[in-house]
Symmetry: C2
Subunit: 309 residues, 2 copies
């Protein structure tokens, strides 16, 4: 089941030719490590652990959210049932920790492996807290912009912060560099999620592969929606509230988008995105990375902030 | 939710006066550590981590098994729903690892903390494998005695083996002592589960607080049942098979017990229990424990093998 989730095999155990995901977190971990002149070999098991950890959260998220497909295949719980899927997620969590514990290169580097394991586990703690908030928000009466940003900083940004901090651990383990890496990853993670929220409403269906106003159709309370619910008034507020709480009528995407424009929610969201991108840039400027590394990390940040899908 | 599961608070967050469980694993970890002349303070965070890990498995098990009560209270998923319960279990898993990472005393002991984390995580891996087998056995056509013993060695015995091995880690970390502790815990864990199986069928209702033949009524395929299904023949085999597969008719406890007696399943089960208790004794005899420690560990073994509830 773990290998199925990782895209290595089909449900019957035969080798799979399928989407294995983009391995964003391990890739960025190793990029930061290399940019800081670190030891890639020592970082490799920790980077692999991040991908296992990410997949553990996906397996459990799919159970929690009743999601039936992932990367164009049935989710683990659809194939093997919820009990086995919960257990397979737990195993991936365990395998992630074991992989990170194996990092650090030779046997003399127990402190590095211990630090890496602590950072990954603390990041995972933030993810479970973010997931808790996300589930709670579904039924909460009032979720504000600050609540939402706090939630995505945990659920979406924590593992990106961990990825970059791991890179710093295996490149000298300097506390100030680690802190700057953490800040860079946290801000970029928030940018990533806010860009996702923008694309979920204003993305080009021909590029995203999703329908117009996809997140409105799914009643996802993303940043623009939360802003509009918080700041609009009169009939706009009443209309938007009922669209996002009344499950009997499908939401009117056109009307909702017009309300968002009137509330200035798109401008607000894009302004927030630029703020966090700026803070990511500030953190990056403090990092003692090579010129090659800086160019690549800047390209990553630009991509995350401006991607169209 | 984590604190509710640990029995510290009620569902509304107020302090609870409730059963917090027996803390068997941390107690035995610290007993072994002391018996070996180890550093109790250094072992304490790891011992606490074991209790957190055990509770993580309980929260997830209750979701997987649809169990609605635990220690006379509604289970976490009954109070907060399955998604939050899965997430709360994940958090307990994380907190367990963080606690174990904090073990070892002062900062110079990173290798001990790393070893402890590895042992606990490997133990947790065995538990998830045991849980996988347990779920799979529910729908498997043929489960033999060897399959069952393999399953309980993982699901029930692994964390007891970890408890004792942790004691040895913080008492000199000698590989041979660690291996003997592991063997002692594994054998005792199997004894514990087999005794559970005996009590589940032949326990005294006045002492166990459970009905006569409780496990037969619940169609639990425990060791005596699996032995009888494997070795009985003719009408006994047919009758027992139908009692454990046909959900329309409640199992006939008296008839099933008679079949078990004819198949020699009680003798077989108690013989197996004595074999594993003997192997536990062999492992204990190899341990360099104090006289005080040996007496206490022998008392633990005797209690586990002969307890009436």
């Amino acid at each position: 089941m773990a290998r199925y989730q990782l895209g290595q095999v089909n449900a019957d155990g035969s080798p799979a030719a399928t989407d294995r995901g983009k391995a964003v977190r391990p890739t960025l971990c190793l990029l930061m490590c290399e940019a800081l002149g670190g030891d890639l070999e020592a970082a490799l098991p920790a980077a692999a652990g991040l991908e296992l950890l990410h997949n553990f959260t996906l397996v459990h998220d799919d159970v929690m959210d009743d999601d039936e497909t992932r990367r164009h295949r049935p989710t683990v719980w659809v194939v093997w049932g919820r009990p086995q899927a919960i257990d397979a997620g737990d195993l991936l969590h365990v395998l992630a920790t074991l992989s990170v514990l194996r990092s650090g290169g030779n046997g003399a580097s127990a402190p590095l492996a211990k630090d890496a394991t602590e950072v990954v586990t603390q990041g995972c703690r933030l993810v479970t807290e973010g997931q808790h908030l996300d589930i709670a928000f579904e039924t909460a009466a009032n979720v504000g912009v600050a609540d939402y940003l706090d939630m995505i900083a945990r659920k979406s940004a924590a593992l990106l912060a961990v990825a970059f901090e791991l890179g710093a651990i295996f490149a000298g383990n300097d506390p100030a560099t680690r802190a700057a890496c953490r800040a860079y990853g946290r801000e970029l993670g928030v940018v990533f999620q806010i860009r996702d929220d923008v694309l979920g409403i204003w993305g080009d269906p021909a590029v995203t592969g999703k329908p117009v106003g996809a997140d409105i159709q799914k009643r996802k309370k993303t940043l623009p929606i939360i802003h509009a619910l918080e700041t609009s008034d009169g009939p706009d507020r009443t209309r938007l509230r009922s669209m996002f709480s009344d499950n009997r009528v499908p939401p009117d995407v056109e009307a909702a988008t017009a309300i968002l424009e009137r509330a200035g929610s798109r401008d607000f969201t894009e302004h927030r995105l630029r703020q966090h991108a700026h803070q990511a840039g500030e953190a990056l400027s403090q990092l003692p990375v090579s010129d090659w590394g800086r160019r690549n990390l800047e390209a990553v940040a630009t991509y995350i902030a401006t991607r169209d899908r």
